[in-house]
């Protein structure tokens, strides 16, 4: 297992290095002169060419690209993501300020999706081809196909406007969390239900389930000890991928519900052309995502004895 973890760790460093390269070079896609952008924010509209050049020199924007990258990379390593071009706030501080909101939304949605998806998927698999199963399969396919921005609007329309039960925006209270979580959680639940169902069907087909039954074990322990444990392993691996789904979905859901999280920060900074902030956000999200995938992989290794006790790999 340690070998496996070491390998994954090494890989994650390569990936994160690559991610910094991508994020850095992506900024060159943006039109406009970065020096001018900074100068504008700093000195206002009445700009002289000298001011722009001064900024260029001060920010090291006149050096060759690879030097710029290395300088930037070195700063990133020291956890210095730079300052926002528009507000001149520290970018990392800004990101960390927004992080709890996104984390709250993501965790609540993950929780909701699991609470719906695991029982639904398991039940659906146990009663394969029954009416319940068909309904489950259809609903989950429908859930996968509904764009979450539409679902969010629908929920607002229904719960905030038609029967004013829940707030449509805002952050801080439990009731604020309900609609965004429903939006993000249910669409994710659809995906997880499908996965749980197919994984459970696969496991129920396995010979060791028949074998357990042949030993006269009671159905409860067959279901929980033998089937569920195996069936949920792929669901867990998938949770890593789901985090990506959550972070991506958060961008949209946060925008719809004015949820002050990372996703909204990213979208706002794109529109504000605050490229330093965009860069910081994307880099942070990618690193966060990579690290949590790593965490999930390690967890998987710990939970699955086939990897835990594999001495060869």
């Amino acid at each position: 297992m340690w070998n496996y973890i070491a390998k994954r760790l090494l890989l994650i460093f390569v990936v994160i290095f690559g991610v910094t390269l991508v994020t850095f070079s992506a900024m060159y896609l943006a039109p406009g002169d970065p020096a001018e952008v900074i100068a504008l924010a700093r000195y206002g509209q009445d700009l002289s060419a000298e001011q722009i050049e001064a900024v260029r020199a001060a920010e090291g924007l006149d050096s060759p690209v690879h030097i710029q990258y290395l300088t930037w990379f070195e700063h990133v390593l020291r956890l210095d993501f730079g300052k926002s071009v528009i507000s001149s706030d520290d970018i990392l501080e800004e990101i960390l300020f927004r992080l709890p909101a996104t984390a709250e939304l993501a965790l609540a949605s993950l929780f909701l999706s699991l609470i719906i998806a695991i029982p639904a998927g398991v039940l659906s698999a146990l009663k394969q081809n029954s009416l319940l199963d068909n309904a489950c399969v259809f609903t989950s396919l429908l859930g996968v196909s509904i764009p979450n921005f539409w679902l969010g609007l629908f929920l607002i329309w229904l719960f905030a406007l038609k029967l004013p039960l829940l707030p449509s925006y805002g952050y801080g209270n439990l009731e604020n969390l309900v609609l965004p979580t429903l939006t993000l959680g249910t669409s994710m639940a659809a995906v997880t239900t499908r996965l749980t169902r197919s994984s459970m069907l696969e496991v129920l087909k396995q010979e060791y389930i028949v074998a357990a039954r042949a030993r006269g074990l009671d159905e409860r322990s067959i279901l929980f000890r033998h089937a569920l444990k195996n069936a949920l392993l792929p669901v867990l691996t998938f949770a890593g991928m789901q985090l990506g789904y959550l972070l991506g979905g958060a961008v949209i859901v946060e925008t719809i519900f004015s949820w002050p999280g990372l996703g909204k920060l990213l979208v706002d900074s794109i529109f504000a052309r605050d490229f330093a902030l965009v860069q910081g956000c994307v880099l942070f999200i990618a690193i966060l995502f990579s690290l949590s995938s790593l965490a999930v992989d390690i967890l998987y290794a710990v939970l699955d004895p086939r990897i835990r006790y594999d001495r060869h790999d």
Partner: protein, 326 residues
């Protein structure tokens, strides 16, 4: 007295392509402490038979007939009664141990679970018994915390035997226990099973395509072809003097007899051949074989054969030897 008596057992599966008749009209008996070998080609319905006894088949199955175990009809038992009987009174060693063991539970856990479930043992006691059982099948009890993928094929088969015999059942069904093992290990497993069965005074239904193993440990043998029993009798007699043309063909496929494989392919279970199911591959087939469905003839010395050739004379000697070799 017979321990298990199967009467007119029909097992069929409803599938999208029609009814698949996996076992038809099977009559079979196993006495207390007896070793019965059920032999036949791969895919002839042996495994289905073994699983049918314990009602372990998939949902789309239809079982008809009677399976009397110590006088009780297993097909009439409630699910719960059946559950209690499994493992406790009839143990089964399923084929392919690497699939039949749960990969995420340690073997000790899987073994101890049997004790806890059936005997209501506490955790410690169950673990102790599991350790003892592992020792009995020749596995160091200290390996009980290990997981299936850490064991070799032979060792896994030992684990399976331990699981099957854990509760000292009166009948053990062993499905292809020697499949996929090298010669030496095969021998060890065969010895282990027959030794343990004797020691525990259990009966054994050995399902195998391996005639050598069957010959070695079986008291009686039954030959299955296309879901039907085509011949039964004392093992020694069947192997020394096969009656049914199919049994002959099987024996001729053995290495020491010249490795002549049975010609042709196994028949369809959806639309089985008319008349005698073996006739398309039979070296002695006559026209009537295509039309008349042979019954299981009672011959002398507990011998039964399902073949038209025996219908007139009732004597296996009547098969011309030269014809069989042509």
């Amino acid at each position: 007295m017979s321990l298990l008596s199967v009467e007119a057992l029909n097992v069929s599966f409803r599938t999208g392509r029609g009814l698949v008749k996996a076992n038809e009209g099977i009559f079979l008996e196993i006495k207390e402490g007896e070793v019965l070998a059920l032999i036949g080609e791969t895919g002839c319905g042996k495994t289905t038979f073994g699983k049918a006894l314990l009602r372990l088949l998939s949902k789309n199955v239809m079982i008809k007939g009677r399976i009397l175990f110590r006088g009780r009809d297993l097909l009439a038992l409630s699910r719960n009664e059946m559950r209690q009987l499994r493992g406790k009174e009839i143990g089964i060693v399923l084929q392919n141990p690497s699939l039949a063991l749960n990969p995420v539970l340690s073997i000790g856990d899987q073994l101890a679970e049997v004790y806890r479930s059936h005997e209501g043992c506490g955790k410690k006691e169950a673990e102790k018994k599991a350790g003892e059982m592992l020792g009995l099948v020749g596995i160091d009890p200290s390996r009980k915390a290990e997981y299936p993928h850490q064991f070799s094929g032979g060792m896994l088969q030992r684990v399976m035997v331990a699981l099957g015999l854990a509760l000292r059942p009166a009948l053990l069904i062993a499905d292809e226990p020697t499949r996929g093992l090298d010669l030496q290990t095969k021998q060890q497993i065969a010895d282990l099973i027959s030794g343990l069965v004797k020691q525990e005074a259990s009966a054994l239904l050995l399902i195998t395509h391996d005639l050598e193993v069957a010959e070695q440990i079986a008291d009686r043998a039954a030959v299955m072809y296309a879901g039907e029993i085509v011949e039964t009798g004392k093992a020694r007699e069947i192997f020394s003097n096969p009656g049914h043309p199919y049994t002959r063909a099987l024996l001729e496929a053995l290495p020491e007899n010249g490795l002549r494989a049975v010609p042709g392919q196994g028949p369809s279970f959806v639309n089985p051949p008319s008349g005698c199911r073996f006739h398309p591959r039979c070296a002695f087939g006559t026209e009537s074989c295509q039309k008349i469905r042979p019954r299981l003839l009672e011959l002398e010395g507990e011998r039964q054969v399902r073949c038209l050739l025996f219908e007139s004379t009732g004597k296996p000697e009547e098969i011309p030897d030269d014809a069989a070799k042509s």
